[in-house]
Symmetry: C2
Subunit: 214 residues, 2 copies
């Protein structure tokens, strides 16, 4: 079982290894990878052990084998079709973002609760009504949903998603969701990231501030 | 000094408190907030202590005071002007995303290294050349940069940003950056989030897979 921290580093390894492959390289050492990614060689060897690929003395790891093993472990070797729920500001941006394809993620349909948005084209996808979701998910055997709805409706939306058969949710809604344990969830909250950045910034450059009038 | 985990929860509190305020409420208890956000009342009381606002027996916390104190602690009470570097897929999506304004972040200019992109309009901002960045940052006293450039140029780009006076970086580039300790950095990596989601999904629903041919 590969640890989550190792999985989090896999995309960085993958990008670097693909770059080496393009440059015509065939072998890479743990020390070299460590240096490039700002990790310790011990950490890199542990991560590589997780891929199942064994290194060879003197030459290190075969780049081609590492690439295939990492892609396979991430589940990126088979394209993943997902639906996107929410065609608001963030949902619209995600629908237009075509970088997901790099890791095998294809947003195949876009849903929104607002009847005024139905039929609009966002990032070459036509917005569908929520009522069409269940039949779409079943017809196309969709397991993954990207959720970018407002916080106050997020719980209701994901409850419905689970009900109609969704098994994994990538949640961009700024809300902690309550979900059955068998549903896989990962959260990306831009407000939280910016909160940390701006609070750290205020602290570092403006010093302690008393935010309460007494 | 407020802890980072508390700061990460502040945006969720804020959204809920603003909703209560709209509903005409004036006071809220820690128990109530805890229940709504899936936290323990003890955790909520600790977080509220961080805001500097004191609760009152029986009635709890004054919603209005909590809202102001959280906004102040996050540094969201003064609008933050930032530049965005990178007008590719993700940069373009971020430039078009207008939800940042909710937390006082305004992307005031967009830069890209590709001469072919110079002058194009993305999300009602005109793409500027990298050469114009230094004077722009100085003229408009910009301290924060949102970085959405490809991984292989990210280090070079942020080195330049720091050189010309940027003090905080929100990094969307899938790359661990090496930066001077006084520069504040926060990373949002979509590939990493999706890696975790898809690896968990594969594990949960497809069982252990041997990714190496032997």
């Amino acid at each position: 079982m590969i640890s989550i921290p190792t999985i989090k580093r896999f995309p960085s390894y993958l990008r670097l290894l693909r770059q080496y492959k393009e440059e015509g390289k065939h072998w890479v050492s743990a020390t070299h990878l460590a240096k490039e990614l700002g990790l310790t060689p011990i950490q890199v060897r542990k991560d590589m052990a997780g891929t199942g690929v064994e290194g060879k003395p003197k030459v290190g790891f075969e780049i081609e084998s590492l690439i295939s093993a990492i892609i396979c472990n991430l589940g990126w070797d088979t394209p993943t079709n997902a639906i996107l729920v929410g065609a608001g500001h963030l949902g619209g941006a995600l629908a237009r973002y075509d970088g997901f394809a790099t890791y095998g993620l294809h947003i195949v349909a876009l849903f929104d609760a607002d009847p005024a948005k139905k039929g609009l084209t966002v990032g070459n996808k036509v917005v569908k009504a929520m009522e069409e979701m269940e039949s779409y998910i079943k017809k196309h055997a969709i397991s993954i949903a990207v959720v970018a709805v407002p916080a106050d409706v997020a719980q209701e939306v994901v409850d419905h998603l689970v009900e109609v058969g969704i098994k994994a949710i990538w949640n961009f809604a700024p809300k902690d969701l309550r979900l059955p344990p068998e549903v896989v969830v990962e959260r990306t909250d831009l407000a939280t990231s910016f909160a940390v950045l701006s609070a750290k910034f205020r602290r570092t450059f403006e010093g302690d501030i008393d935010c309460v009038e007494r």
